[in-house]
Assembly symmetry: C2
Homo-oligomer: 78 residues x 2
């Protein structure tokens, strides 16, 4: 069964690099990748926060939040 | 052709979570994963530094360094 991996970003250059270089490197046999732009979809900032995301870009995988490098604090996207 | 993805860590709890949760989630069809414990293999700290790694855990993929959450500064492993 596939797991959904959610990549949260804000369109920043660091985010684009992480999406292209790391999020798309996940195994497509095991993960369905969902990409969420929190700058455009502010309704999902609370969901990201509940998942443990404190900054973007971040990848939430099997319930764990992995912050990848640093683009922006989640707080500035609220 | 497969690319080598190098996961640098220092055996810290944050490192273990990132290795199990993210490094092993990479597509095995495209990436060969190499795991390097910089605490035990100090000779490779300089190599990690040249690849842009500033803290562990970090994943170097196609020439880009992705710092995943934060375990320890690379400087303390020298």
């Amino acid at each position: 069964m596939k797991t959904t991996a959610i990549f949260y970003h804000a369109g920043c250059p660091v985010c684009v690099t992480a999406e292209q270089g790391l999020a798309h490197a996940l195994d497509p046999q095991r993960y369905t990748l969902e990409v969420v732009h929190l700058g455009e979809d502010k309704a999902r900032v609370a969901e990201a926060e509940r998942a443990g995301v404190r900054s973007v870009p971040a990848l939430v995988l099997d319930g764990a939040a992995f912050h990848i490098n640093f683009g922006a604090e989640l707080a500035v996207l609220k």
